[in-house]
Subunit: 420 residues, 2 copies
């Protein structure tokens, strides 16, 4: 069995590598044509898609998936339309491939610049949401990459139906159908095989829970674009505007709970804590947020839960907030240095010098002044789309859009130039 | 023994991580001050350096190092001056750290841009040449990174003497001496320990032979910036200027042999081969280059050596050239696709459309039109300095200068903005 999985995955890999050469040089118009044709195929087959999706939902229910998972798995007509709309939006984005920047003459007479080019083959490993199949395919295609998609076994029928639409759209546009391949087996060994395909896959993008991502990090021989945790901090400085501080902290914690860019720890400067915390706590508790505090916080909010050391390193993804009173900016920076997951941190201050220091010294993928951490998102940043968020430092960092699926090579133009 | 090595390397790693926070926010003037102070320390201690280096040379001779290795190991007064000069050149380069690009307003009202920041801690593993100690330290320091340097055991005394100059220069400038640490043991286990320090080292840059780089690739849990082979191709199109073609091919092969950007395979379009090869062969043989050819080449140059399949995948680093006659550009692109190491390829053509296709379709770190592959170099490209060349696709690709030792984070400026 595992041998046949290996053979199958290797064949997928080789087809992807061959397709990547063709899609890498495809013209923008052909890629956009394919994206629109996929959107049309999804809409035309909406009934089939929702019917097939019901099969996945039923077997999911039988297997005892919880409601949140079933909700993510569900594709109704509205979600089909949203997928199609997403494809049209990617078609409307500028093509990153082939852009040449910085082309300039060197003293030797040659011109040197950098050309943006596809990475090659992207492997996407994800769970549950079948719309990732369409979204990820669109981003890979537009950026000139071939894609190998491995969705969760619970969505296998839905994913295969979407894959058929993608294939048909690619063929309509005269592009190789192997540009996007969706793995057809639910055998978990397939993931392991993908992670060993160093010669066929250039980068792995996992989308899913921490367990999935940890497994991929441990096993993969291929570079991975990922983030593991979003332990985001907001630091409220004593020289802040209090209205802004309350607004930002409440938004960062409560606008959505289960997201990686939500605030998990609030740091607040001691001089302002007695004035600001009562109002902030009132607003947070109105929304049902549980508060866990350091000893100084407990002096000010006696009915808060005492925070343990573990709290400072926990991504709650829930209506829970840990609060620590710090002496000043330096103590806030130290706390962030030790406990941040490198995702997103914000300062609320009206002090120019402190804002400047925070921006420079915090080593996270997004660093903000007077704005909610919830803005850390590809759409909000104007990337047009997002394949994921990276908290790594090499290659892509922060929200990853089309650019993050490309790289740059040097181009040199001469006229018979040789090196002396 | 190995346990003490592990303890030692871990301690080095933790000191580097702590130093990286300080050097990452150090002002440009302080970093430049340190670079110049290191240059002055090297010059002031030139006599000590050359004396200590003689110890390395003597023990190298006793250990039977070949002349090429001894030559690389040798530091005379001229080399000390060159090291100092290199440090001053790096001091004169613009500081990449803190540069903000693309800062612009989004519809939500926030401003979003990217700030260039250091990677953190760079591990450099190299052989023989002690001048790498000074060069690599300078690039890491200027780009705001801490560095852990592990040189070859044959250069241990020279490297420690250079390390003392670096430490003294850092202290003169008021920067942490742990910014640059040179490993003090020659135990080979130290390399393995470095490659496991994922929490302390952000990227490994190996500089040395293929054996060293293969070992590091196999063992490292840390991302590696490297190139393994430089199997560079020049394709001479039938619509070329013949004078330029001969000039470029001769320069790409013979200007220096033992370098990664030298041409190893010449591809030539069949229609022009009978006209162009005789003159080209005459010029190459004048320089003592051995020629290995495909069957069609052998028809035109009967006394060339028949090329085997292995030749197309060999980096000679020697006065040897493999020659293949191809039907046209497509066949040349196919050959490059299958045999290139992704380093540097060049086309010689006066045909606009073919030049355009070659630039777009060849997937190498440098792609050239009518220029010698020997230009693939950080100094020639205007990067100011070079820590190495990368044939990988993620992060840095091609010659890696100061920019390649940095990354970009997102910065967001608001005025109380929250997400709706």
């Amino acid at each position: 069995m595992n041998e046949s999985i290996q053979t199958y995955i290797r064949a997928v890999g080789h087809r992807a590598r061959a397709a990547s050469r063709l899609i890498g040089r495809a013209e923008t118009a052909a890629k956009n044509h394919a994206l629109i044709a996929i959107a049309e195929a999804l809409e035309a087959r909406a009934d089939t898609l929702t019917a097939v999706n019901r099969k996945d939902l039923e077997s999911g229910r039988r297997r005892g998936l919880d409601n949140a998972m079933l909700e993510r798995l569900d594709i109704d007509e509205k979600r089909v339309r949203a997928m199609a709309e997403g494809l049209r939006q990617v078609a409307a984005l500028p093509d990153p491939v082939g852009e040449i920047t910085g082309l300039s003459y060197r003293p030797s007479g040659i011109q040197v610049g950098r050309m943006r080019v596809p990475l090659g083959v992207i492997g996407i490993i994800y769970e549950s949401r079948p719309n990732v199949t369409a979204d990820a395919a669109a981003l890979c295609l537009k950026s000139g990459n071939a894609a190998i998609l491995r969705g969760g076994s619970e969505a296998i029928h839905s994913n295969q139906a979407i894959a058929a639409c993608i294939r048909s759209g690619l063929e309509t546009a005269g592009l190789p159908a192997d540009t996007v391949q969706v793995i057809e087996t639910t055998d978990r060994a397939a993931v392991g095989e993908m992670l060993r395909l160093e010669d066929c896959i250039d980068v792995i993008v996992p989308r899913g829970g921490k367990g999935l991502i940890e497994r991929i990090m441990a096993e993969s021989r291929i570079p991975v674009i990922k983030h593991l945790d979003g332990i985001c901090h907001v630091y409220i400085d004593d020289r802040c505007d209090m209205d802004k501080a309350v607004k930002i902290a409440v938004n960062a914690k409560t606008q959505r709970y289960g997201v990686c860019n939500a605030m998990e720890t609030l740091l607040i400067a001691n001089p302002i804590a007695p004035v600001l915390l009562p109002e902030l706590v009132r607003r947070l508790r109105e929304k049902g947020v549980e508060l866990r505090g350091c000893p100084r916080t407990l002096e000010l909010i006696p009915d808060a839960v005492p925070a343990t050391e573990e709290d400072w390193d926990t991504e709650y993804l829930a209506p829970i907030l840990s609060i620590r009173v710090v002496a000043n900016l330096d103590e806030a920076l130290d706390h962030i240095h030790h406990h941040s997951s490198g995702h997103t941190e914000a300062i609320v201050t009206e002090d120019y010098g402190r804002a400047r220091r925070f921006l420079r010294e915090v080593d996270s993928s997004s660093v903000m002044v007077n704005a909610s951490t919830r803005f850390a998102d590809g759409f909000e940043y104007g990337l047009g789309a997002e394949i994921g968020i990276s908290t790594d430092k090499l290659h892509a960092r922060g929200p990853v859009g089309l650019d993050g699926l490309t790289t740059q090579k040097f181009v040199v133009l001469g006229d018979g130039h040789v090196r002396e």
